[in-house]
Symmetry: D2
Subunit: 299 residues, 4 copies
């Protein structure tokens, strides 16, 4: 189908490729135009403006945060103003539950449809059609978008008709990943100071009870102390935990693990790890145990 | 090989069966003799005393806690007094690092060998040779015990020559499981109060990033609010977190997640869940979010 | 001196009286006009609008939160638009550091002066000239305001030229009070469950090391379980802790006690104490220890 | 009255002097005899053994911890064996609730009396009769000991007939002091990073709501970053928090602030502050905020 795509960071560019490879006709827009032009080789049409990218009647956004989405949607010549009546805005960014609720209201007022469809996966998964998508919105509209979701990856969860439900799922998932970082950080600091070979410990655990990608991937980084370059940057981790805490507070849900994670992320930033991967909170755990700070060449 | 086995709770009885089925000659002892006699059908020889169970020259203990192991080992007619010089004591219980260190010293003084070999798995895994074993001790002695470990399950990690290293691994593993309970408890409370179908959320997560037994098993219990009957009782969970914290304190390792878990377990006990499964801390998370306390028939 | 005062809640009305009693000429404004008229007996002049209240050239605001202050300042006919060049806005509300910074910039752009002067004390202190004032702003401007501050209470701290410094002090103080609530809540739950007479414990502590008003006042409420009616309502306590956490995050300062307090306040709200005094977090501590929930008639 | 005193550290020696100055006849014992001899100038009689110190029929112990008290009481020639029937053992040390309960039972079995009477105050208060004493035990026995307590300081709380109640009070008090350390550490780190003069902040707070010795004394140390030499050493602070947590766990009382304090104390030790004052946890708070680690010459 025909679709616009706004936001061509590492994730957005990968998604554009997966959509194009699946045969969709994709009009791409990015503030820095060169990133859009780089996709012409894959068949993308370059839009000159947000309005251009809205012309297909369905537009995906994959932007950094609430502020970027608000700017793209609510600007004078933004999505809200540009999309046709009956048009669809599919937001794939990790944004707040509150903004998702607001987008649903505003698009509805404008006679447009809003689908929230955040994704799980890293840039290489985006590019290779291996993302997991969580979608929420009016059933018929979500159904119309399914060819797009299928182009992004084999795994789709439709969680309801209220768009922000998808954001709750995304935030819950990121919260759980963050807890794994902290858990492993503490366990590995404990093991190392006790004289246990952290690598052997991790191999054992991830071949038994904890046989899941999140433990293997992040466990490996933590055991090696390899938090640079960032796959998912520390400030983004802090942002996501903040979104979890804000959304949970609105519902009066205390989340003490999330609170603790927030403190860890802030501490990691204060101690100079701002450019590191969010798994660097394991370095904070190690330092708090008096282990050597720099851990870049194996355990 | 010939071996004694002391402690025939659900775990110990299962292990006896697996050892017998693998062809070992097992002399079993339990304070309440009927549990020993129940195993004669599987070929077990019933010992009249701890000393009897030590006669084979190698003896496994699978007891509830430090106090039970201390009683079995240090009593006048206990293992230390009864085992021959050159004999082997294999401790499979989840005990403290400090007691493991002490057992290593005392058995060595008595000219005996000590192997620490705690296991991961529940009673049905014990009975069906599906435990994962973590062993530590003198290499030659651990090698001699391998036929026993292989009879208990396919997965063996030998983590070093110092017995208590195996206890550190066991405690690290149980700590990680406990963090999963709390993480899921918070995430599911957040999802439920936000209107998300917790069951769909769990299915999605455990078919993607969190595709591991620990998330599936406990996630299911938490979504259903099914914490009774206890698979692993709440007070045992508290005990294990306490052992983690004590061992970590000895090495000056702060473990804030473990501290928070300890508070959760204590709160769960104070609120009347003493007989429930340790996953009941998710009920505390739900109650703290103002969700209905009783959750026994689905979400 | 001549001054306007906007915001006549319990605190603002009390402050108006203290200013009037000290001989200042006070023009008062409140959205609900009856609260303004009630002060005419004390000599207040009733303003018909925010603009009217700005006419004296100096105006105090004592409003509920950031949103109320933003509305009063940035509305079309708000303070920013109404105050003369060279006029002074003195903000006494507990607002965010970020808003304080923004007010400083905007008033400066408009050729006006901004002084931040939050106060410590409850309504009766406001009415009886017993508030403690923390002020920050240009030195000469703060000096000009001193007669107003002296009318509010005997205790004044001028903390610097940057207005938001005063907000940091106010938030730090409220954070410290909140930690006292939690500390006492835990200590008293521990004491009660151990069989200690909580009242005797408190008397002893507050006549020795903890001989300070904050321990006496709140300790008494906690021992009696008297959290209604609210002196300072629970949601306001949550708001203040949130402001502390936000301001601290901007500076990359982790505050684990504040995080824990936030969870306690949210839990207290989720469990139905929204209308209670913020000291009700001690009830949460008691309930988590399995003590009887309702504690309204003595310990 | 005639009394023995075992344990002549800084606290015990000071108490000996206060007792002697009040006219009591004091027989002192210390493992290192020179500390006993140093008190002869004040009129003390030097005991050659624990048994000698028990001869007066009433004996005070002021020892470092549970282990030291257990050794003094339960040794073959210890207090239990040496004290006459009807004799009184007054334990002033900060020991566990569990040991206090055990001492009550054992002394009772031996036909002796046990009074628990821990004290608040530092060495200079001990020497100058300014301690605060919390006593618990049989009423008639406590009454007989009152002349001793009055010699130690003007403030006495008799909290009940069960000796360990006094230990609960002592532990509650030390817990509250520790929370003040952490609260001030966080608040001051926040203030400093926000550009607030920490010294002015402290002066203001301690002249208003927080007008208590504990805030003034420790606040001063924290603002100056002066944690050496130790008035009360960090490992003793950790010990006391551990005793609080253990006693509270026995009663199923979760104490999240205490848990957090425990982690802070462990972190402070792991980072090399073992010889510092327990207020050094404020240095951890500062470091976690990215403030310079070394703070020995003012803010």
């Amino acid at each position: 189908m025909e679709v616009g795509l706004i936001g061509l960071g590492n994730m957005g560019s990968g998604m554009a490729k997966s959509l194009l490879h699946a045969g969709h006709r994709v009009t791409v827009y990015n503030r820095t135009r060169t990133r859009a032009e780089a996709l012409t080789a894959d068949g993308a049409i370059v839009a000159a403006s947000v309005a251009d990218a809205c012309r297909p009647g369905a537009v995906l956004t994959m932007l950094a945060d609430d502020a970027a989405v608000e700017a793209a949607v609510f600007a004078n010549d933004g999505i809200l103003a540009s999309l046709s009546r009956g048009g669809i805005h599919v937001s794939c960014s990790t944004i707040s539950v509150a903004l998702s609720d607001r987008l649903a209201i505003e698009h509805s007022r404008a006679g447009q449809h809003f689908v929230s469809a955040p994704v799980f996966g890293r840039p290489d998964a985006a590019e290779n059609a291996r993302l997991a998508v969580v979608a929420a919105g009016e059933k018929t509209v979500v159904d119309r978008c399914k060819p797009l979701f299928e182009a992004l990856g084999p795994k789709l969860l439709v969680i309801g008709e209220k768009p922000s439900l998808a954001n709750v799922v995304k935030l819950s998932g990121n919260f759980l990943i963050a807890t794994v970082l902290e858990s492993l950080g503490e366990a590995i600091a404990f093991a190392r100071k006790s004289g246990v070979d952290a690598s052997a410990l991790l191999d054992f655990l991830t071949s038994t009870l904890f046989n899941a990608p999140v433990f293997k991937t992040y466990g490996g980084l933590i055991v090696e102390g390899k938090h640079e370059p960032a796959g998912f940057a520390l400030p983004l981790g802090l942002k996501d935990v903040r979104l979890v805490l804000q959304a949970a507070e609105l519902r009066s849900v205390p989340m003490p693990f999330a609170s603790l994670l927030r403190d860890r992320f802030i501490t990691a930033i204060a101690r100079g790890n701002e450019k590191s991967d969010w798994s660097v909170i394991a370095r904070v755990a190690a330092e708090d145990a008096g282990l050597p700070a720099a851990k870049t060449a194996g355990a």
